[in-house]
Amino acid sequence: MSGFFGPLESDGRVPRPQQTRVAAFLISAHGALARQFAFTLPARFDAAWQTELNAQFYRESEIVSLLMRATSWVPDIALGYMTAAWETAWLPAPIEGIADRSLAQAVHLATLAHAVHASIRPAALLPVEANGQDPFVVALRRIEFESGRLLQAQILYLKGPDLVPHRDAVSAALEKRHASVRKLWRETLESIGIDASRSE
């Protein structure tokens, strides 16, 4: 089993079943982030950092919109139960060691976004010979690049002064979230014949 998409179609495009399942996973993850950022967005900002929430919400929505249009979809009956499993995984989980509910919610969202932006690298699945003019290929490269930038907000928050008293709890929650996201991503890739052990 290769660590990349393929075998590619004759014109260098990613096989449509692989496009479908990877796009569905990414839409689920980034869509969940878009929804959760939307719920945290106040109607009117009273703090500078809230402008970043606005940016995160629109970038996540853009990723979902991009994948909806750039993917060559095929019917995939397994997506029903897979999507249910993914959506369950994005739900808030208690953060051990942080009793304050609003702080725990913020840490949950930041750790989930960090895990999705940092550990999911869809462009790294593209073999050298992938067609650079294919919209799905371009979309994956754009998502990975954009994720690296979005990630900076999570890094700043999670490493920032507000969470210094909770550093161990935050680090533990983040490691746990990374592990669970990587597991789902690995299982998704293995279901379409891609060896993702490198991402473990």
């Binding site: 960090h114 940092a118 990630l151 490493k159």
Partner: protein
């Protein structure tokens, strides 16, 4: 692929060569990965050494801590590998960030090694290095791993190396881009945020030490190596002609030869550091030349040394 365990983290390593033979442990630079030492593995195995390489925490196939990477943990991971090697004589070498980790190891566990080779290295962040490091970190944040590689390649390698590769740089960069993640590289860079200079502790390094510095190293220029030469008692500085920061990639045959000869000299009791300054040969096997005593080796033009 074997792994060592450090707490909850796994450190991937490779070890080849006969047990009991003198060993070289090679420590990666910040954006590197273990496979980049392949030429050294082959050359040093052929000279009778064991060779151990590994991915630092945050690199390649080793675990990548999500939020913080402490340089103490890198030293601890290296120590695990040294323990894995057993009681035979061990030489330790590292390039750039890896050289810094090797220096720290020599300070904290000097009794476990018989020789040290810091390459393109530094013990403190000069204003230039601090600001370049900050700019490289910003480049990584804004442009990703690929942009960081774009900055480092022309800074650290010669025209002669780059010219034939100009139309295939993407393939040169690809493996490093694949195995290294933005957040992990950023964590490695940010491990310098609380960095304390090693300079006051360098004098505690008592093992024979050969400091290698490229003639044209822009990232870590001669004065940073001079600090090592002056502070480490049994050291000498060897300048690699026409070499840049990443001479371990560009001049692997020459560098591997220098490593092997240094180890042979130490094991035979011939090594004398004397804090001397040497010029390496252009090719493997050539003679090292003493830097002309009357000239200042810190200058790029022939300026006579000021009597001290």
């Amino acid at each position: 692929m074997p792994f060592l365990s450090h707490g909850s983290y796994r450190i991937r390593y490779e070890l080849d060569g006969p047990a009991g033979a003198p060993a070289y442990v090679l420590v990666n630079g910040l954006t590197q990965y273990s496979e980049l030492w392949a030429a050294y593995r082959e050359a040093l195995l052929g000279r009778g050494f064991r060779v151990a390489t590994f991915d630092l925490l945050g690199q390649g196939a080793s675990d990548k801590p999500t939020l913080f990477i402490n340089q103490d943990d890198q030293v601890a991971a290296l120590h695990l590998l040294v323990i894995e090697l057993g009681d035979g004589p061990i030489f330790l070498s590292g390039i750039s960030f890896g050289g810094l980790i090797a220096l720290r190891y020599a300070i904290e566990h000097g009794e476990r090694i018989v020789g040290l080779v810091p390459m393109s290295c530094f013990a403190e962040l000069s204003p230039q290095l601090l600001l370049i490091g900050n700019a490289l970190r910003t480049g990584l944040i804004l442009g990703g791993t690929g942009y960081l590689q774009d900055l480092l390649l022309p800074m650290n390698l010669s025209d002669q190396w780059l010219k034939p590769l100009l139309d295939k740089l993407d393939s040169v960069k690809r493996q490093g881009w694949l195995v290294n993640d933005v957040y992990a590289l950023q964590n490695l860079m940010e491990s310098f945020l609380d960095f304390q200079p090693l300079t006051p502790r360098l004098s505690s390094i008592t093992v024979p030490t050969m400091i290698l510095n490229g003639e044209f190293d822009f990232l870590t220029p001669r004065p940073l190596h001079e600090t090592l030469r002056v502070k480490i008692p049994n050291s000498s500085l060897v300048i690699i002609p026409r070499a840049y920061h990443a001479f371990t990639l560009e001049k692997s045959a020459l560098t591997a030869d220098l490593l092997a000869r240094f180890a042979d000299d130490v094991l035979a009791g011939r090594w004398q550091g004397n804090q001397a300054v040497w010029i390496a040969p252009d090719e493997p096997g050539g003679e090292l030349t003493p830097f002309p005593a009357e000239y200042d080796h810190l200058r790029a033009i022939p300026v006579k040394r000021t009597p001290s």
